[in-house]
């Protein structure tokens, strides 16, 4: 079953091209603040733009050297026509790089449809009203792509499907520390959800959970939690921890934290419910409670009996870097044992983390 998830992520472009041949429209999301439910309600398949380890992409992007690797990597992939099946891209702002890389994509006319989500940073009544209207405006733009009207009912159905997906993730994350599912496999299970039609992923998750059973927690490995932005870097660090006799028993991968953060209310106007469900409810620096985010990490560590936590920052990701410094005040106050690592998404940069990870694991043994 794991291989099914892994294949979904590894062959995501092939699968998307197949969907395209079947007549589906595809809209890519640039980071987790994009309301995928809205895209789905227009009869379009939302997929997430995901980083792919290949230094050529960063070079190809020709973006400034001090910008985060994620923005550069995605731009390089776009220039390399990796996403040639995409009908449009929707950008939800979480940092200055993703906001302004949008300007370059728009300037170079890289997609037939490029939509910037104008998300307020507060959740006041005025902000909810503004964002509800904005979602309706975006619905109109999406309808132009698919030719399908977004009705209150279709949006409600889409919200229900994504709520189910989030629910299935929660079930998996709760049981995972008690199973023999590896950390690396967990990354595949989760990330496949970002690039698979939600109906199919729900089905996969239901089948998977039905055969998943708890095992005894007998091993003596050092249990760790991993917080990270970049999926490839996360896998590298997971492998390194295993090399030194530790295991990552739970994680806070930013794609996941944002995607699976909270369910949308099914009552009332679905546009307004979506607005309320996204404003200050999705973990992103500055627009989400630091207390809740730090507490979430601490609680998840406790639940998974993790002795330590690794916080992996992709170099030049200023949003994640500043968030770490803020969360650290609480980590220190709670005496939460952790290691901050900062690296680029290249094998040589990651390789330099070896010694620090080894020392950290040994200190917890």
């Amino acid at each position: 079953m794991i291989s099914e998830f892994k294949e979904r992520i590894e062959k995501r472009h092939e699968r998307s091209r197949e969907l395209k041949k079947e007549g589906k429209k595809i809209v890519a999301c640039f980071y987790g603040l994009v309301p995928k439910e809205l895209i789905h309600a227009a009869g379009i398949v939302p997929i997430q733009l995901i980083e792919e380890r290949n230094p050529q992409y960063e070079e190809k992007s020709e973006l400034l050297p001090y910008l985060c690797g994620m923005g550069k990597n995605l731009t390089g992939q776009i220039y390399g026509k990796v996403f040639d099946y995409v009908d449009g891209v929707m950008v939800g702002t979480v940092c200055d790089t993703n906001r302004h890389v949008y300007d370059i994509w728009a300037h170079r006319k890289l997609f037939p449809h490029l939509l910037l989500v104008r998300t307020p940073s507060t959740a006041s009544d005025a902000a909810v009203n503004y964002y509800t209207d904005e979602l309706k405006r975006l619905a109109g733009e999406l309808e132009k792509i698919s030719g399908k009207k977004i009705t209150e009912n279709s949006l409600r159905e889409s919200i229900a499907l994504y709520n189910e997906n989030k629910d299935l993730f929660c079930q998996f994350y709760d049981i995972r520390p008690k199973t023999d599912i590896s950390a690396e496999d967990t990354v595949y299970i989760f990330s496949s959800g970002l690039v698979t039609p939600v109906e199919e992923h729900n089905d996969m998750m239901r089948r998977f959970l039905s055969i998943l059973s708890a095992t005894s927690e007998a091993n003596n490995e050092v249990k760790l939690m991993l917080c990270a932005v970049n999926l490839n870097m996360a896998i590298d660090v997971i492998r390194m921890t295993e090399r030194y006799g530790a295991s990552v028993v739970t994680d806070d991968l930013i794609h996941n934290a944002r995607y699976g953060s909270n369910k949308i209310d099914m009552e009332g106007d679905p546009f307004e419910a979506l607005a309320r469900g996204y404003l200050r409810k999705v973990p992103a620096p500055g627009i989400y409670s630091f207390e809740e985010r730090a507490t979430y990490i601490r609680d998840r560590m406790a639940k998974a009996k993790a002795k330590g936590m690794i916080y992996l920052i992709q170099l030049y990701c200023d949003a994640y870097a500043i968030e770490y410094a803020i969360l650290k005040e609480r980590f220190d106050k709670w005496k939460l044992t952790h290691l901050k690592l900062e690296a680029e998404d290249t094998p040589s940069s990651i390789e330099q983390l070896n010694v620090r990870i080894q020392s950290f694991v040994e200190s917890l043994s």
Partner: protein, 413 residues
């Protein structure tokens, strides 16, 4: 709309500058605190006229970071940020500004304990995180003058939303201080702000003259009242007086460029505060900066008419503060460059690729491409950081400038 006043007599520019200097601004904040007025840590880009009209005294950490950097007193704030695990990839204004908040002092001395925090959310995403942190760490009332990310800042619905935010800001101040809002006082404040912005704009226009009388180095210092004293009549008087001064310099054909103004340049970006001598070096070589988006588009009356309407203060401030240059599409930004190149008769451009400021730096290469395509102008790209001198080589910068000026010279032959 207020009538533009004309300077009638010679004024003492030095004493006016002293009255509005950074040091004077610091002393005003200290005195205000002692007098029981509320003190607010404020970001650039908020409608500061509201604070002025309500006797709220702002501390601007970005401005203090620029000043600290300019007088080489920023290191201890950067060290403080480093000690708290803020990596150097985070904006230097943020690191230095947080250092100022943590140590509760600035380059001039100790700072009073603030009562409020207010920030904009449209100039950069870090403002949001930075002020959210201040709220979280110092547990003080905090207001975000909300402005969603946009590439269409002129959209009336967008301006409506922001206008409502300004009204909410007034309510926030009233709810959290003893200050009381007075519409007539706001109108007078906007009147003063309008004159201030108007004369700043007129000074910018004077730079079309050949030779241009103004030095970017001096303007970088003279811009401070636009940041710290909008609404104050003294600020309006200050720019009115400077307008007269620059008119006199035009009559005398005075230029800051040593040996005469041989080349007229555009500077794109925030000044390099820790090495302002970069600008001097250009001027010594006969190259004078005559237009910058930083001076011409980021400050002053950013309304389509170039004026503020004191009779409709909330709307006029909403129109002004939603007009953020870097929120416009790259093509729209290029139009400003086109106008400047044509109207200011420019010979070349210097682009400051500032690792701290993503909004200003992303898209710069595309602007360069468009300028090269249409004008074939020589363009120099200088890399560095606005406030953090780490990694900046003065020798390298001079070499690059030497080479660039040689290119300009060859083209003039």
């Amino acid at each position: 709309m207020a009538e533009a006043e004309k300077p009638e007599e010679k004024v003492d520019l030095k004493s006016m500058m002293k009255k509005l200097s950074a040091g004077a601004s610091y002393r005003r904040v200290i005195a205000a605190h002692e007098a029981g007025h509320p003190i607010c840590v404020a970001s650039a880009g908020i409608p500061s006229e509201i604070m002025f009209a309500m006797d709220v005294y702002p501390i601007y950490p970005e401005s203090l970071a620029a000043i600290s950097s300019g007088i080489r007193k920023a290191d201890e704030f950067f060290d403080e940020a480093r000690a708290r695990d803020l990596t150097n990839s985070v904006c230097s204004y943020t690191r230095c500004g947080l250092g100022i908040s943590w140590t509760n002092k600035c380059a001039f001395g100790p700072l009073p304990d603030p009562d409020l925090f207010i920030t904009d959310v449209s100039i950069c995403c870090l403002h949001v995180t930075w002020w959210a942190y201040l709220e979280d760490h110092f547990k003080k009332p905090t207001f975000f003058v909300d402005q969603p990310a946009t590439d269409r800042p002129d959209d009336p619905a967008y301006i409506d939303y922001y206008e409502n935010q300004i009204r909410e800001m007034v309510k926030f101040i009233e709810d959290n201080t003893h200050s009381v809002f007075d519409l007539e006082r706001l109108k007078q404040t906007v009147r003063n702000s309008d004159l201030t912005g108007l004369y700043w704009k007129k000074i910018m226009e004077l730079r079309k003259h050949k030779p241009s009388p103004a030095s970017f180095r001096h303007l970088a210092g003279q811009i401070l009242p636009l940041v710290t004293a909008l609404g104050d009549k003294d600020a309006a008087d200050f720019y009115i007086a400077f307008y007269g001064h620059y008119q006199d310099l035009i009559k005398q054909r005075v230029t800051p460029a040593a040996g005469g103004e041989k080349y007229r340049l555009i500077w794109n970006g925030i000044p390099i505060w820790h090495h302002l001598q970069v600008i001097d070096y250009f001027e010594k070589k006969g190259a004078n900066f005559v237009w910058e988006p930083y001076t011409s588009l980021s400050w002053g009356n950013k309304t389509p008419s170039g004026r503020l309407d004191p009779e409709d203060p909330f709307r006029t401030l909403a129109v002004k503060y939603t007009n953020v240059f870097t929120n416009r599409p790259i093509e729209a930004r290029f139009k400003y460059f086109e106008e400047a190149i044509d109207e200011y008769d420019v010979d070349g451009m210097v682009m400051f690729s500032n690792r701290s400021c993503r909004p200003q730096s992303i898209g710069q290469d595309e602007t360069v491409e468009m300028v090269r395509e249409k004008y074939d102008l020589p363009i120099l790209i200088l890399e560095g950081d606005q406030a953090d001198a780490e990694g900046f080589s003065w020798e390298d910068a001079k070499n690059k400038i030497d080479g660039f000026v040689e290119v300009l010279e060859a083209r003039k032959r």
